[in-house]
């Protein structure tokens, strides 16, 4: 019944269009940064990595513990972040613009600071600073540029409850204030006299309402669970190509096979949105193994893959994640404290 309703909802919401100029979904996603970079969309159905708020709010009641996490998340290309900051805040000069657009490749950079508190049935998270930078060049002979530099502030509230035997439901309210510079234009326009219009900062307010569900057979040996979530559904103060309102339907499952030592979790996720062109693009698989202070994570889809580890010792955590796709790759680190 739940599955049928979820699929019907997807059919109603999703249609086939292209989205030139949109910030890629992996940068628009509002989940705890390190979790999403390591697991990708599989984080919506897995709960063995404990960092910040869970991707799927229904897990809050299932986890049922209190925790405060503070996390600093940084990606490679930090010099790009400085340039992006100058663009967003209107302090970039012609030399900065020339430097940014002299990089004829797909580039991205990300930095964020987040504090979150998880209680038994609710969770709250504040992300007072997040900087994102993304460029993509097309057609080398007459280059066209997809470019976004954005500064975000976000707040999340997750509410969750046990509904009936093995069934949990949750709701995430996510507010994001974003100030960004971005457009899809010809490279020659960037250096033209009226380029100021291209780089005029825009402000957008986004409010997401994201329901999630988990059905978990916790009394079975391998603890299988099935999860569903509607992510990215809500309203925006203005319409923009860079931050489109693009709901994603997520359906996933995971198991925890018994191992002699440690905790192993294997998950598969189906992630469908208007960006999804082929069914094979929608699937993602992930494996997590926790032993003592170390937790290893590997995840892959047809398009990209990532591998990383999290080191947790007493209250402190550090993490490293490698991510790659055909045109791009990155290294992401995370430092955190848990109280």
């Amino acid at each position: 019944m739940l599955l049928r309703s979820f699929v019907s909802l997807l059919v109603l919401i999703l249609c086939s269009t292209s989205f030139a100029g949109a910030l890629p979904s992996f940068l628009r996603d509002g989940s705890t940064r390190f979790l999403y970079r390591s697991f990708g969309s599989a984080c919506y159905s897995m709960d063995s990595v404990e960092r910040g708020l869970p991707c799927n709010p229904a897990f809050v009641a299932k986890i049922g513990e209190q925790r405060f996490d503070g996390d600093l998340f940084l990606g490679t290309n930090m010099d790009y972040i400085r340039d992006a900051d100058a663009m967003v805040n209107g302090t970039a000069d012609q030399a900065t613009v020339a430097k940014i657009f002299s990089r004829r490749d797909v580039s991205q950079a990300e930095a964020s600071l987040e504090a979150s508190y998880l209680a038994h049935t609710w969770g709250v998270s504040l992300e007072p600073y997040r900087m994102v930078f993304y460029t993509r060049f097309e057609n080398p002979s007459l280059p066209a540029i997809d470019f976004v530099a954005a500064e975000e502030q976000s707040a999340k509230l997750q509410l969750s409850s046990y509904v009936s035997k093995n069934f949990y439901a949750g709701l995430q309210l996510r507010y994001t204030h974003v100030r960004f510079v971005g457009d899809y234009f010809m490279a020659s326009e960037a250096f033209a006299g009226d380029s100021q219009k291209l780089f005029a900062p825009k402000i957008q307010e986004l409010l997401y309402v994201e329901p999630g569900f988990v059905y978990a057979w916790e009394d079975l040996v391998w603890q299988p669970q099935v999860s569903a979530m509607l992510s990215g559904w809500g309203m925006s103060s203005v319409k923009s190509d860079q931050y489109p309102m693009m709901p994603q339907g997520l359906l996933g499952t995971s198991i925890k096979p018994v191992v002699p030592l440690g905790l192993l979790e294997v998950g598969v996720q189906l992630d469908v949105s208007r960006e999804t062109e082929y069914w094979r693009d929608a699937f993602r698989a992930a494996i997590s193994y926790k032993l003592g202070i170390l937790q290893f994570v590997v995840s892959a889809s047809d398009y990209d893959h990532s591998a990383g580890f999290l080191l947790a010792y007493k209250n402190l955590t550090s993490g490293l994640s490698y991510w790659s796709e055909p045109e791009n790759k990155g290294v992401y680190i995370s430092f955190g404290v848990t109280l």
Binding site: Q66, A119, L291, G292, I333
Partner: protein
């Protein structure tokens, strides 16, 4: 400027957390049962097995982290990865020591259990002593909890005061963030 301040804020929060440094895996180690000696014995023996398992996990993962950190440090090219690998290696060595401590020395209940288990007294007397021990221990936990509430509440007040006095909007927002984070932490310890 704001990024440097936010980084300083994060580091200060990190440093502040050392005041209450604890091991995540051992934080909830508390006997919540009745003051009944046979029930308590079962809890302690189960916990001893858990300590051995945890100790072994820490020693193995610590060894992996120590070796992997050195290898990763030498293979990595970017400074980000190298810094994380350096931390991993150092923490790995510390974790081996912590794991050995769990494996061979156990937890704080062990000494009390050992003293009473081998004492030549009746089971009723053991139950009575256990009752007094658990009362004292719960009182100690309660005091520690309220000290944490007061500490974080005071830090929050100090930061909100600083925010109210500060004229620079960037610095003001940092103080507000610190104040809000400590308020959340103070509230979290009241539950």
């Amino acid at each position: 400027m704001i990024r440097i301040l936010l980084l300083l804020l994060f580091i200060s929060t990190l440093a502040g957390s050392f005041a209450f440094a604890k091991d995540k895996d051992r934080e909830d180690l508390e006997y919540k049962g009745l003051p009944n000696w046979s029930e308590f014995r079962g809890f302690v023996l189960e916990q001893q097995r858990e300590d051995e398992r945890l100790g072994l996990s820490y020693m193995i993962s610590g060894g992996l982290a120590a070796v992997g950190g050195v290898v990763g440090y030498n293979l990595a090219e970017d400074p980000f990865s190298r810094s994380v690998y350096a931390i991993t290696s150092t923490v790995g060595i510390a974790a081996i020591g912590l794991g050995a401590s769990y494996y061979w020395t156990g937890n704080e209940y062990d000494s009390f259990y050992y003293a009473l288990e081998h004492a030549n007294i009746s089971i009723q007397e053991k139950n009575a002593i256990l009752k007094r021990y658990l009362e004292k221990e719960r009182q100690w936990r309660e005091n520690r909890r309220w000290i944490r509430v007061a500490t974080h509440a005071l830090i929050a007040v100090a930061n909100f005061y600083s925010a109210a006095q500060e004229e620079n909007s960037d610095v003001k927002s940092v103080f507000y963030f610190l104040g809000a984070a400590n308020t959340v932490m103070a509230i979290s310890y009241t539950f």
